[in-house]
């Protein structure tokens, strides 16, 4: 079956490499990868996204291990990670899986049977985009690009997930240029080191990165700016099979899932990367463990504009946290005073997913948190100093979200008009009356939503006009964002609890210009020497990695600058494309690109071309 995904790849001659740019390298060695030659005039009448998981070979179906007990954990997972594990220039996909739940229970006792392959396990899918593109070129094909295609490489990768999976986070922890994978579980977590040859090694025990509690989302960021990526792990509540409680539905006496408030919240964990393959637990020393809230979502960013990475944590049913970095290895939670702990009215809400982005183009990052049915999702607007105000209603995001429970979310400029839009994966957490009465054994289904930011004015929900990809009602949980087909617009992987993973391929950005940036920096080495050499021959001393946390400002003649951060965290249980994709609207003109690197230094490049992916290497721009 061919996938009808239009990827407008064009010949490299249409774009010249500007001399002023330090290094231009298109990903995967294909010089034209992602370059778009012709820009369509006018908006496309076609739906912005098409669902293409099955056609692309993603046959993953989540298994939640439910047996009728209504264990709290069974309806919370699971996530996904988008990362280029084989360094071939395209995003690969890891999908987190559950397992049978309950002491002594076997898979045969599952209320809803798992789909093969069995036993259920996390799966790694390799994106064959660049490989197929090379084959097409060598065959002399000039016409339409090959369909997006994924291959299940779990077996050959060596990844053997253990435990009941929740989320995933991807980052190059050992600075060898190969992205590693951290998997959170209801139970012990796992750290998989990327060996650089297509295989992974379980480093959990040796690294000290484990957490035996119920972990959910994780953020990878360099909190002490020492060049090594650290790890923040959200922990949820102290639910166990032993302390499982029986709760009933609001509309009947039938058993339903409990509120997380029925259990005690767990403290989160901050792991400092020592740079020698091990992590030091600094949760207590940093102050992070001093407050617990039942964390589900986390995003890093410099919210108070002091150049140091902070953390925003969405808590379920309890006040959210804003951990401000005090530059000395410690953090202080200032969410209450900052105005982003509660709703504008002062209510603690059921924070699930979280996104940070400069939606109003004023040069700082604003926060969006997804919440429970009957509440509202929440938009906190930053004044640039880390003080927020709840502008949910003012921006038109209030009443439209109330019917649904939001989970995965992200600021994405899906139509490349330069304004960040919002995507939300929805799914209930307690039975929906109508679905239950209709006999649905898992009555938590809700639709996903897309909100367009209309020229910086307010948000307009366009889900119903967004085609079949937005039609199905599913138990949406994670949403991972990235340009899977390298065509310059943001695609989405949606994970569903006890349902199939969905691949939403963006077809709408094709009418506008864009700039794609991969921000690469030299790996840090405490002693200046390579730490290990991968089988692919690269060592930590000369490897580069994605500089998570780098802040990009794209100057545009006569128009406001556009600011974005390179990050993989945010959303819910997911890890996103670490590259930066910026829609430019109708004009491809770019003045300069400034990058503020995570260590505080800045560089500027001029002459970076629009409508293609470009790698900016730390140290090759003009220092500022």
């Amino acid at each position: 079956m061919r996938l009808l995904v239009s990827r407008l790849l064009v010949a490299p001659a249409l774009f010249s490499i500007p001399a002023a740019v330090g290094t231009i390298s298109c990903r995967g060695g294909a010089p034209d990868a992602g370059a778009r030659g012709s820009v369509r005039a006018g908006a496309s009448p076609a739906p912005p996204f098409i669902e293409a998981a099955a056609a692309a070979g993603i046959d993953f179906v989540h298994f939640n291990g439910m047996s009728g007990q209504h264990y709290l954990c069974e309806m919370m997972g699971a996530g996904a990670a988008l990362f280029d594990y084989d360094n071939d220039g395209d995003l690969d996909l890891f999908l987190v899986q559950g397992e049978m739940l309950g002491p002594g229970r076997t898979i045969q006792q599952a209320l809803l049977s798992p789909k093969p392959p069995l036993p259920p396990a996390g799966r790694l899918y390799r994106n064959e985009l660049m490989e197929d593109d090379r084959s097409r070129r060598s065959a002399g094909a000039e016409s339409s690009p090959p369909p997006l295609r994924f291959t299940d490489v779990t077996a050959s990768s060596g990844i053997r997930t253990a435990g009941y999976g929740m989320g995933a986070a991807a980052g190059d922890f050992d600075n060898d240029g190969w992205i590693d994978l951290y998997i959170t579980n209801f139970g012990s977590n796992q750290l998989w080191r990327n060996n650089g040859d297509g295989t992974f090694t379980d480093l959990t025990a040796r690294s000290g990165a484990d957490d035996p509690r119920w972990s959910t989302s994780a953020a990878i960021f360099d909190f002490d700016r020492d060049g090594w990526l650290d790890l923040f792990v959200c922990n949820y509540v102290d639910f166990t099979f032993a302390n499982h409680k029986r709760c009933t539905a609001s509309f009947s006496r039938a058993q339903d899932y409990c509120s997380p408030l029925a259990y005690s919240p767990l403290p989160n964990r901050l792991l400092h990367n020592r740079g020698d393959g091990t992590f030091e637990d600094v949760s207590a020393a940093s102050g992070i463990a001093s407050e617990s809230g039942g964390a589900l979502g986390v995003v890093s960013g410099d919210f108070d504009g002091d150049g140091w990475p902070d953390l925003y944590v969405a808590n379920d049913g309890r006040p959210n946290q804003l951990w401000i970095n005090r530059h000395d290895g410690t953090f202080v939670n200032e969410a209450m005073l900052a105005g982003c702990a509660l709703s504008g009215e002062g209510k603690a809400e059921a924070g699930m997913g979280v996104a940070a982005g400069d939606f109003d183009a004023d040069g700082d990052e604003d926060l969006f948190v997804t919440n429970l049915t009957g509440e509202s999702n929440r938009l906190y607007v930053n004044d640039g100093r880390g003080r927020f105000s709840d502008q949910t209603s003012a921006e038109g995001l209030s009443s439209s979200a109330q019917p649904y429970t939001g989970f995965g979310t992200g600021w994405i400029d899906f139509d490349n008009d330069g304004w960040l839009d919002l995507f939300i994966a929805n799914g209930a957490v307690t039975a929906i009356e109508a679905e239950a009465r209709a006999g649905d054994p898992f009555p938590l289904r809700q639709p996903r939503q897309l909100f367009r930011h209309t020229a910086g004015k307010s948000f307009e929900q366009i889900s119903s006009a967004s085609g079949a990809a937005f039609s199905p009602w599913e138990v949406g949980r994670g949403a991972a964002f990235g340009d899977l087909d390298n065509d310059g617009d943001m695609d989405i992987v949606v994970t569903n609890n006890n349902g199939p993973a969905r691949l939403l391929i963006n077809e709408s950005g094709a009418g506008r210009h864009w700039i794609g940036l991969r921000l690469l920096g030299k790996a840090a080495s405490r002693d200046g020497k390579p730490r290990r050499t991968s089988q692919a021959g690269r060592s930590a001393g000369d490897a580069e990695r994605d500089m998570l946390g780098a802040w990009v400002e794209v100057m545009r003649p006569g128009r406001p600058a556009l600011c974005r951060r390179a990050r993989s965290d945010g959303s819910y249980l997911c890890s996103n494309d670490p590259r930066v994709l910026i829609g430019l609207g109708d004009s491809p003109r770019i003045g300069a690109v400034q990058v503020n690197w995570p260590d505080g230094r800045s560089e500027e490049w001029s002459g970076v071309s629009a409508d293609r992916w470009t790698s900016l290497h730390e140290g090759t721009g003009q220092g500022r």
Partner: protein, 557 residues
Amino acid sequence: MKARDRAAEIVRRDNRGKSGGRRASRWLGAALGLALLAGGIWVAGSVATRSSSVLPLPDPDLSHLDERTRSLIGQRRPALEAVIRSRGEKVGVISEASGDLGKLYLACKLTGAAEACLMNAQSLASGDPRWPSCLGYLYRTSNQPEKAIACYERVLRLQPGDLAALVWLGRLHLDRNEPEKAEPLFRMCLEIQPSSPSALYGLGRIAMSRRDFAAAVQCFEKALSISPQATIVHYSLAIAYREMGETGKTQAHLALRGDVEPYPYDPLLEELQRILPDPKLHADRGIRAFDAGRWREAAVEFRTAVEADPTDPVLRVDLGGALAKVGDQAGAMEQFQQALRLSPGNARALLDIGSLLERLGSRSEAIRYFRSAVAADLSFPEARLALADELQRQGKYEEALPHFRKAIELDPRSAEARLGEAMTLLRLRRYSQAKRSLEESLGMFPERPEFAHSLARLLATCPEKSLRDGLRALKLLERLPDPGADLEIAQTMAMALAEAGRYDQAVQWQRRCIDSARRAGRSGQTARMEERLALYERAKPCREFWSDESEAPPSGR
């Protein structure tokens, strides 16, 4: 123009341009005929039903409802059917019966059925403001704001001075970012009732949206002066003060914030609560408030839940717990005892009575209840822990130890049980076992300073030489946030320094401890601290662990 007339005018202005057909048609209901159709009972319009289609009498699935609720519905539905069948009945009577059933369904959260009944009631008695008011509540609480707005507008057309409708409609507009529509409604409400905290709160929120923080402060302060229990207002007030740069007031109001909203008086809500009070709703609110440490609010919610279902022992235990927290020990005991009467052998109630007695100083009596709780539920880790802890406090270490171990077996993640076990082992001088236990627990709970601290003290002071390790103790203590801030940890630091041979530093730390204890008025402890200081000054380490009750080890609970 009177306030009530102006309210009607505001709604009329808002509706200008809307279809006139939506207006209430008083004649319509009276002209409706009745018909019985095959397969079910219908209330059908026999004459021109230009604005209403009358809906079939719903027959929702009640299988999941409790017996009491089913029985209530079982009475009202036949009553409605009977009045429909009785050709002599006037439509007003039918409307009333339909509305009553609708309200019952609404109280049961059977929203689909409630909507149909209430719509029918409204169609049959279109001049009655109760039915659009009920529908407004239904739509407001089921996330259908557009429909809720239409209903409250209808209420205000029929009854312009309806305070609840004015506030609810104002809030709905505010949530939709329509402050210009909300403001006149709140102002109208204040004209009718100048001391309406909910209207003041609404106006404050409007001022916030306009960044007029001084005006917002005025409204919020006034709302709180009228209704101090509306603790949610403190948050908005804090944010307004923050924007005005008044940090002190900001912090003060943040500390006072709570969840209680300034609701308008709404007779409908009261009636719904009377029809079928929802104990679960209030219990959930109570749990939320309790978890957040707002004991008074929790007690109010639990009491409401108990009133709604006096036969539920769990609710009584919850209420007792909240009352104990606010210092009403007698009230708490009464609730626990009631729970025991309702559910003899209720382990939770036995445990709570024991805990209360323990707090009141009746420790032997407390142990008796803890033992009963354990016997009532052998797999109840909290009861085991309470019994073990009290036995330990009473010096019955050998007896306490197996209970701590059973508590750990039942709940391996119980930090309290693990700490209790380790402390008991120390008391029993089983130092190497205690060390192993603390090390294991530290690995499991790295964020809990009690384990690092206890292990550090053991390493610094253990009578068994082979277990002492001053340097490791120091490392453990240095990882704790601000070890100097806690007197006990600071003393352990001095002990560790002494064990590591750094007596000068140990002396400095110990002197600081003594100063801090004096400043804190803990002069009773300084004698022993000075004895230790004397040891360090003579370059001798400390070999005491936690030696008496005045310097007790961390408690297991």
